[in-house]
């Protein structure tokens, strides 16, 4: 797959070309490409004059970064404490069952990526699932299954 990295200098410039902003630069790159392509990491390291090994360290240390391409739809199951005791595991089981993948994986047709995340801070509406940045609260097994547009 050939990707267009022409927007990369602009993303890096947005953050004053500063290595202090490395984490935020990577977030913006992920926003653009839905994951962190290795080429983009190499280019970032060169532009900021930061060792590539350091960029790779950061890209794998923090939860929110993915080095693998992700699906068109990102489904996040909140596993915070409030969600846990209100049955988040059941919701996760159900979504895994429906998508045929485990949390952290992407469906073979690249439609869905399922992610299990620590608290998203919407505890009052537990259990919560976020589909493409939209919060869905007070879920049960059936409601969760309906969030996915597939059978």
């Amino acid at each position: 797959m050939c990707q267009d990295f022409s927007r990369l200098p602009e993303i890096i410039a947005r953050h004053r070309q500063s290595s202090e902003s490395l984490i935020m630069i990577l977030q913006d790159i992920q926003q653009e490409y839905h994951y962190l392509p290795p080429e983009a990491l190499t280019l970032t390291a060169e532009t900021l004059a930061v060792p590539l090994s350091k960029v790779a360290s950061i890209a794998t240390f923090y939860n929110s970064f993915s080095l693998k391409p992700r699906g068109k739809n990102i489904v996040k199951v909140c596993l915070g404490t409030a969600c846990h005791i209100r049955g988040a595991r059941l919701i996760q089981d159900q979504l895994e069952h429906k998508l045929g993948i485990s949390a952290g994986e992407t469906t073979s047709d690249s439609e869905y990526t399922l992610e299990a995340v620590a608290c998203v801070g919407a505890c009052a509406m537990a259990p919560v699932v976020i589909v493409n940045e939209k919060y869905h609260g007070s879920l049960n097994v059936n409601k969760a299954a309906k969030l996915l547009k597939r059978k």
Binding site: L79, A82, I85, E96, C119, A124, A126
Partner: protein, 617 residues
């Protein structure tokens, strides 16, 4: 526009109030994350659409305010009509026209939109009368749900930045520190360290450069206080930070926000830009000699970054690995310079202390824990949401008065505070006063304010397992006791959950925990065994039940339970579809059965059954 003196600040306030007086009524629509999830934005949009068609004296779209979180997320979307304080819950877009025509135009209350008190079934008209609010004391959350967080004029109109004006013009930096010290304010991030003393230490270090950092990482699963404050009243946090910077002599600040909180990032960013525009951030703040600016640093999902040295590394764009610190970060912190690090709620307390004085503040709460505390009250409690109560209030009053008791009137079992570093307290502790020292003395801790209520259907062994699993995933992996010790500890608890534990395992857990607490490099490991130790202390019988009788009394641990279907089954078939194991069979309208060989005890059938026909043993 640039505010250069007190007179100009007052003018902005007066202009806002004059403008505000034109409106006979205002509609406050909660746009916190909870209400947004329930469709609050659509309500705001609907107001806009309807108002385009209508002309009402004393009301325009400008009087429709998207506010921060009211705290009562469960009942969202919430609409409050001021000045009466009429409280509408679970509002739908189709009801907006009615609200405008009936309540805003005529002041008539729409009965069916009112909140029903779950205790006596009575309708409640005004929101201060709702139990959830009557028992609270809102100081930090005073503006949440009242003002539009993205409009600096509203903040100033409600008395905002007056404290900064006072500090900068009428107080020496040392006087500010003294005032905060005398107020008795303690860090709301967990440890409860005296804020005044921290500032004093930072100010006393000789250095050219100092930093003020705000910890908005809020990694505790089950907590969203800081999120709501950053989203709903970002200027209060900024004002607190600017006052802190003036007091200690810092010129650069950072506010570290979790990336899971996109709305908080947007609102804080807007607030920073607005401050720069009117001269409250940047060079010569308020026309004085003092200069200070704030930048946002976004986190990227790592619980360990709540630890001060890891957070500072992350702010600097590095891997958030804690460093061993025999030199405290207040002396040698960000970029090795003296750094004041406080959390969101702590900074949000600062303006009102400066404004009303330490004497006023220290009368709230208890002598050793002054002020209020914001909690996210969640779990198996009727009214879940964001609350603020004076320190020293009992757990019982929080859970049963503010929270309205346990869902479905089930028995209370435990309350968890302090997140993965805290512990679970049983019902015998319900009358304990909530303050820093009492909670710590009883094996839990205040933490940042997550309060998770558990009923008899919550397994305490499973709760310990849950927190250890979380910590194993979140451990940075640098030091051996935390990386390997928590992993082995999790394995031991897992064994109990699977019914394969022994009594000796319980002793081994306690011994290993002690070494992890003593030997780990940072707070994550040092406090990591707390949830396990507190459940072992207060709920040992439940562990023994798993070990000796291979029984999970709460019906949670999958290896120790089976599901069966009783004669209440109507044969509706609702349980067949969610069963991932294809273990349920039966003809339509006839009793269904679970094939125990196929069943993996996920419990989906029980969760969907409307007839109480699925039983757990």
């Amino acid at each position: 526009m640039c505010i250069k003196n007190s007179r100009q600040l007052k003018q902005v306030q007066r202009d806002f109030l004059t403008r505000d007086k034109q409106f006979t009524r205002k509609a406050l629509i909660c746009c916190g994350t909870g209400c947004l999830a329930n469709g609050a934005q659509a309500i705001v949009d609907e107001f806009r659409i309807v108002m385009k068609k209508k002309r009402i004296t004393g009301f325009s779209f400008e009087a429709v305010r998207s506010t921060g979180c009211h705290g009562f997320c469960e009942q969202g979307p919430l609409v409050i009509i001021e000045p009466e304080g009429i409280f509408y819950t679970k509002v739908k877009t189709s009801q907006v026209t009615d609200i405008i025509d009936t309540t805003i135009r005529k002041g008539v209350v729409i009965e069916r939109l009112l909140f029903t008190n779950p205790v006596d079934g009575q309708k409640i008209t005004h929101y201060p009368e709702v139990d959830f609010f009557t028992h609270q004391q809102r100081i930090v959350l005073r503006n949440l749900g009242k003002i539009a967080p993205h409009d600096i004029k509203e903040y100033i109109g409600n008395g905002g930045y007056a404290a900064l004006d006072k500090a900068l013009r009428r107080m020496q930096p040392q006087e500010v520190i003294d005032e905060i010290s005398r107020s008795g304010l303690r860090g709301r991030g967990g440890g409860g360290f005296s804020t005044g003393r921290k500032w004093q230490t930072c100010a006393d270090v000789e250095s050219e450069m100092r930093y003020v950092v705000c910890n908005g990482d809020e990694g505790d699963p089950g907590a969203f206080m800081d999120r709501s404050i950053m989203e709903g009243d970002p200027h209060a946090v900024l004002e607190g930070m600017i006052i802190a910077a003036y007091a200690v002599g810092a010129n650069q600040g950072y506010i570290y926000v979790r990336e899971e909180y996109p709305l908080a990032v947007i609102h804080v960013q807007k607030a920073i830009e607005d401050c720069r525009e009117i001269g409250l951030l940047g060079k010569n703040i308020f026309g004085t000699e003092f200069s200070f600016d704030i930048r946002i640093a976004r986190g990227a999902g790592a619980f360990v970054c709540g630890e001060s040295s890891a957070l500072m590394k992350s702010v600097a764009g590095e891997v958030g690995e804690p460093r061993a610190k025999y030199i405290r970060s207040v002396v040698k912190g960000l970029y090795d310079q003296p750094t004041v690090l406080n959390n969101v709620e702590t900074y949000a307390n600062v303006p009102i202390i400066i404004d009303k004085g330490a004497n006023w503040y220290c009368k709230i709460g208890t002598p050793k824990s002054a002020g209020t505390k914001v909690f996210s009250l969640v779990g198996k409690v009727r009214n879940t949401g964001l609350i603020e109560v004076p320190m020293g209030i009992t757990l019982r009053r929080i859970i049963f008065d503010v929270g309205g008791g346990i869902i479905d009137d089930r028995p209370f079992k435990a309350v968890q505070t302090g997140g993965p570093s805290g512990g679970c307290l049983p019902d015998s502790m319900l009358d304990l006063p909530v303050d820093f020292d009492t909670l710590t003395a009883n094996g839990s801790m205040m933490g940042s304010g997550g309060m998770i209520v558990m009923d008899d259907l919550t397994c305490m062994v499973d709760v310990a397992r849950y927190f250890l699993e979380f910590l194993v995933k979140e451990s940075c992996g640098k030091c051996v006791p935390c990386r390997e010790g928590l992993y082995q500890l999790h394995g031991l608890v897992q064994k109990v959950c699977a019914g394969q534990g022994s009594e000796q395992d319980l002793d081994r857990m306690e011994q290993l925990s002690e070494v992890i607490v003593r030997g780990s490099l940072c707070g994550l490991g040092q406090s990591g065994p707390n949830p396990l130790l507190s459940t072992l202390k207060y709920f040992r019988e439940e562990y023994l039940e798993h070990i000796l009788h291979r029984r999970c009394p709460a019906g949670v641990c999958r290896d120790l339970i089976i599901y069966t279907i009783n004669e209440k089954c109507t044969g509706c078939g609702a349980c067949v579809k969610p069963c991932a194991d294809v273990a349920i069979t039966g003809e339509k309208k006839k009793l269904h059965v679970i094939d125990q060989d196929k069943c993996t005890q996920c419990g989906a059938c029980m969760a969907v059954c409307n007839f109480d026909a699925v039983e757990v043993h």
